[in-house]
Structures are given as structure tokens and as C-alpha cells.
């Protein structure tokens, strides 16, 4: 059951396999005796939302950490735009167009919302040796930050310290900071966690808007949301992929039903 064949989305849509922006091949991570992620293969196509669902402890966050470079894999390969990046550091992958958001709020609490976004955007215009020039004078990072705040609906809050935001707004800021780095591939770790229905709707609209131009990996617990926006769903149980298909096919999949209903019903 563990080794699913490689994602067939590309072949089905009659595209060459290299069209995948981000690809995992037989990716695995072991922590001592625990195999947190084993033999996961998936590929993210451009202009599509690929959701990863699974019960708690299924290895979803570990998978994101492997893809983003925060953790080194113990087996397998990560390919970004056709290039093997398995040994690249996280900053290097980020520079190459890989952005991520975090499950827990991971922001700069004392800094303003704008500075949070501007600092993220500055990653692509670093010039640390220009010590005589004000950071505020960097037009590129300013405009990228403004753009990211606009998309995430935070423009009104630009001057507020991030610590003063509501929980939902902090989640929006998570995504805005990710967008500010202008990535091609977005790895979003539970962007809807702890959000009210209204905030959720807003975030889902944001995600739909981002589909065009990005390849998105969405880890999420909210099933309604996942089935509403995902083009493709991968289901993980105990670190392994048990199904990877269109939402309808996943809904009908017997293994998935057993995994979910068997544990929860």
C-alpha cells in the first residue's frame, strides 16, 4: 500500500512530467525508530491546489518540512522546477521560489504588519552591504509587501504591530508573508486553523485567487474547505500515502473511508 505510483496528474492532462513545479520522489524521514514519513511521492502542477489530508500524526507537517528544506530527508528526493534540491538549504530553496506558511503563527510580533511583509519581501533584495541606505528606501520590497497585504486583506492593518492582530488576522499575515517573497510554489500548513466561518471563507477566496500562477500544496484539517478548493487530494496515514486522486475519486476510495470512518465513526 505504501508505494503509490507517481502522481499521474501530468499524464492524465497530457502534459510532460517535467511540468510539475515541485515533486517529491519516494521521500522519507525517520526519527529514531519512528518512520514519520515513508516513501511519499507527489507532484505539484502549476495553477492547481493540491491538498494533503490525514489524521493527526500522519506526517503532513513533516512532509512540508521536508519539502521546504527545514528537515533533511533520510530517503528520497525533492525536485523544484525539475532540479534536484534535496541537499539545498531552506533559504536557497526559498530563493528559488519555494514559499511556506506555518501551522502555528510564526511572525515577528513586535514589528508592524507592513514591516513583517516588507522584511519577507526583502529576502529577494537583500544588499546587506548597503548600510548607509534606509531599508524603507527599498522600493521593490515595499511594493511587494503592499501587494501581499492587499491580497491577504491586511492593508487596513499595515501600521499595527503584528502582536496586536486577532488570531484570524495573524493567519492572514502568515500567508501574506509567504506571498511577499513572491514564490512560485506555496506550501500552506493549515492556513484555516482556528478561523471562524467568515475568516475561513475569505481565506478560501484568497486561495482560489492564488491558484492562477502558483502551485499550491495545502495541508488542512477542514474537509469541507479541502473538497471545496482542491484540484487533487493526497491522503496520508501513518506517514504513507494511501490515496492520491481527484476529490471525487478520493471521496469514493474504500481505503480512505476505512482510514477516516474507521477511526472517527
Amino acid at each position: 500500500m505504501s508505494a503509490q505510483p507517481r502522481d499521474t496528474l501530468a499524464t492524465r492532462q497530457a502534459q510532460p512530467a517535467s511540468a510539475a513545479l515541485l515533486e517529491a520522489r519516494g521521500l522519507g524521514r525517520r526519527f529514531g525508530a519512528l518512520q514519520a514519513v515513508s516513501d511519499v511521492s507527489l507532484s505539484l502542477a502549476p495553477d492547481a491546489i493540491h491538498a494533503v489530508i490525514g489524521t493527526n500524526g500522519a506526517g503532513k507537517s513533516t512532509l512540508i518540512n521536508l519539502l521546504s528544506g527545514e528537515l533533511a530527508p533520510t530517503s528520497g528526493q525533492v525536485r523544484l522546477m525539475g532540479e534536484d534540491v534535496s541537499r539545498w538549504s531552506q533559504p536557497r530553496r526559498a530563493q528559488a521560489g519555494l514559499g511556506r506558511s506555518y501551522q502555528r503563527n510564526n511572525i515577528f510580533p513586535p514589528l508592524t504588519v507592513r514591516e513583517n511583509c516588507r522584511l519577507a519581501a526583502q529576502a529577494h533584495a537583500q544588499r546587506p552591504w548597503q548600510f548607509w541606505e534606509s531599508a524603507q528606501a527599498c522600493a521593490q520590497s515595499q511594493s511587494q509587501a503592499d501587494d501581499a497585504m492587499e491580497r491577504a486583506g491586511l492593508t487596513q492593518m499595515a501600521k499595527v504591530p503584528a502582536a496586536g492582530l486577532s488570531h484570524g488576522q495573524k493567519r492572514q499575515l502568515e500567508v501574506a508573508m509567504c506571498l511577499a517573497t513572491n514564490p512560485r510554489v506555496l506550501l500552506l500548513d493549515e492556513p484555516l486553523a482556528g478561523m471562524g466561518p467568515e475568516e475561513s471563507d475569505r481565506m478560501l477566496n484568497l486561495l482560489r485567487g492564488l491558484r492562477q500562477g502558483h502551485a499550491i500544496l495545502l495541508v488542512e484539517h477542514d474537509m469541507d474547505a479541502v473538497f471545496a478548493v482542491a484540484d487533487r487530494i493526497t491522503v496520508m496515514v501513518n506517514g504513507a500515502v494511501i490515496a492520491s486522486d481527484t476529490p471525487d475519486a478520493v471521496r469514493a476510495n474504500a481505503d480512505v473511508q476505512r482510514a477516516y470512518l474507521g477511526e472517527h465513526a
Partner: protein, 337 residues
């Protein structure tokens, strides 16, 4: 505080400090100028440490190593038979401290938190014992510099460091230069990135920053300015000894910035002034002066968690109006960007 009021504040403060030698007899004496220079040197050392601790979030207990390295460089490199040229001794001693910071930084920055504190301490002790045990450095007695470096332009001496008043102003000038450069750094993209690393290094890496290199840059810049303080110390005293690299020296600098307020350049200067003046005063009162000084620091930390600068700011805020968004002001300069 806006940028303009901050600049005016610095100019006024430095101007007042520069006036000291012109004051009438009971104050403008050589004793007070010497005390002033001591404060200025320790303020520069505290400012350099502030960049590392208060703005990058790296708590070092070995900063005195770079202070001592530059001072010893002057002692060893200055000619024995006449004044050396400050034009090369100053930059070379600063460079010496920076190179040492680069070497030590590359090793210690592999660790984090409490381990970083311990490893910086260990390297500073290493420097201490090298200075203590190598005959070249004069052992525990240290070594002398017989002539103050000269900053001559042709045969003209715009600043004669042999003259007490000139020496004092030279130190004020160096303090101003340190404040200027560190302010620019903090205003720049480099400084903003360092502050980002202080608050959340993980997020900085996720955004695409090589945080290891940024931290190394901070470590080296801090080391270089500690070196400037070391050069000034060697110039003033004409004498260096291994105690300059002792962990007491590092800890005192750390105490100064905690006392004045972490994450604030004025905090470092106010911390240094308070620390030196109080130790002078307490030493005049009692032999157990360290007990009083320690008690004072504990009191400040307990009552003003953001140091003297933070305490003053909240006093002013409280007087202005009690309820205006406290989070928006904070204790540090970084928020107002």
C-alpha cells in the same frame, strides 16, 4: 520618537558631553576628563555589544576578547622609540579585532542560546590565557605603550592626543562615529534583517535569508567596534593587561546594556554612564560597593524590565496619557520604523 527628534537628541547629548573640558574648575578637571573618557570607551564597548545582544538576539559573554585584542595589537605594533601613526594603528587594530571576531564567530555561531553564551565565554577565556601566558604579551602584568599614537597630517597635528582636552574630544568624536554608523546599520536592510533574526530566525530562513551569514556579520561588526574601544583604551592608558579580556569585563558590558535597556542605542550609553558613575560613587562610600551596585541592577531589572530607557519612556508615556496604545511604542527603536 521620529528620526529627526532622535538625531537632534544625539547631537545635543554629544554636544553636552563635549562641553565637559570647558566647564569651570570643580568639574572640568583632568580627573573628570579621565573619568569621561573611561565612560566613553565603555559606552562604545556597550554599543557594540548592543548590536549583538539587543538587535540580533545573540547573548555573548566573551565580547571583551575583541576589546583586548585591539588594545594588545596597539601595544605590540606601536614603535618603542616614538609615537606610532594613528592613521594605520587605528584601522589595523580594529581590523585585528574584526578578524578575530570572524574566526571565533564562524565557530561559536554553530551553537544557540545558552550554549552560545558558554562557548563565547570559553573563547574569551582562551584569548585571556593566550594574552596571559605568551611572553610577547607581557604576562599577567601586561605591557606598556610608551607613546600615544599620533594623527599627523604632514607636520600638523589637528588632534594632539598628548593633550588631555584633545584626547577627550577625540574620544567624543569616536563615540559620535560609532553611534552614527550603528544607527545607519540599524536603519538599513542589514539592520532590519538582524532585528528579524532576533525575533524569528526560522521565519527569516523560510523567507530566504542566509541567517548564518547575517549573524556572522553582526558578530564581526560588533567585534570591530569593541576593537575601536580597545584602541581608545590603549591610547588613553598607555598600558594593557590580560584583565581586559576577562569575563568580568564581558559581563560588565552585558550588565550595562541590560541596565540601560536592551535593543536601544541610547540605552547602551546611558547604561555605561550609570554603571561607571555608580561604581565610582559606591566605591567612595563603602568597600562593599559591588553589593550596592548589584542591588541597584537587580532593582532596575525588577522595576523596569526594559531598562532605564524603557522606564523613562513609560514614565513619559504615563504622564502624557495613560491609555495610548502601549504596544505601539514599546521600549525599542526598532518598532518605530
Amino acid at each position: 520618537m521620529t528620526t529627526r527628534t532622535r538625531i537632534i537628541g544625539w547631537i545635543v547629548a554629544l554636544g553636552l558631553i563635549a562641553l565637559l573640558p570647558l566647564l569651570p574648575a570643580p568639574i572640568g578637571t583632568p580627573f573628570h576628563m579621565e573619568l569621561g573618557i573611561r565612560i566613553i570607551i565603555l559606552a562604545i564597548l556597550a554599543l557594540s555589544l548592543q548590536l549583538l545582544v539587543g538587535f540580533t538576539g545573540l547573548v555573548s559573554l566573551g565580547h571583551a576578547a575583541f576589546f583586548a585584542a585591539a588594545a594588545y595589537f596597539v601595544a605590540v605594533a606601536a614603535p618603542q622609540d616614538g609615537p606610532g601613526s594613528g592613521w594605520w594603528l587605528l584601522p589595523a587594530s580594529v581590523l585585528c579585532a574584526a578578524v578575530l571576531a570572524l574566526l571565533i564567530g564562524m565557530l561559536v555561531l554553530r551553537t544557540k542560546g545558552i550554549y552560545f553564551i558558554m562557548v563565547t565565554l570559553a573563547f574569551a577565556q582562551l584569548v585571556y590565557f593566550v594574552l596571559h601566558d605568551f611572553p610577547l604579551f607581557g604576562g599577567s602584568d601586561g605591557t606598556y605603550i610608551y607613546f600615544r599614537p599620533e594623527f599627523a597630517i604632514g607636520s600638523w597635528l589637528p588632534m594632539d592626543l598628548g593633550d588631555a582636552t584633545h584626547l577627550y574630544w577625540f574620544n567624543v568624536l569616536m563615540l559620535g562615529l560609532t553611534v552614527l554608523i550603528l544607527s545607519l546599520v540599524l536603519r538599513s536592510r542589514l539592520g532590519h534583517a538582524l532585528i528579524g533574526i532576533k525575533h524569528n530566525e526560522q521565519r527569516m530562513r523560510a523567507a530566504g535569508f542566509r541567517t548564518d551569514l547575517y549573524k556572522l556579520a553582526s558578530f564581526v561588526i560588533a567585534g570591530a567596534f569593541a576593537g575601536l574601544a580597545g584602541f581608545l583604551y590603549a591610547t588613553q592608558h598607555g598600558y594593557v593587561n590580560p584583565e581586559m579580556a576577562s569575563w568580568h569585563q564581558s559581563a560588565n558590558s552585558l550588565m550595562m546594556i541590560i541596565l540601560g535597556g536592551l535593543g536601544s542605542l541610547p540605552g547602551a550609553v546611558i547604561g555605561a554612564i550609570t554603571f561607571v558613575l555608580l561604581s565610582e560613587w559606591f566605591q567612595a562610600i563603602t568597600r562593599q560597593w559591588q553589593l550596592l551596585l548589584g542591588g541597584f541592577i537587580i532593582l532596575v531589572v525588577a522595576v523596569m524590565p526594559n531598562g532605564l530607557v524603557g522606564g523613562l519612556a513609560s514614565l513619559r508615556r504615563g504622564r502624557a496619557r495613560k491609555s495610548v496604545a502601549p504596544a505601539a511604542r514599546g521600549n525599542t527603536e526598532e518598532v518605530s520604523s
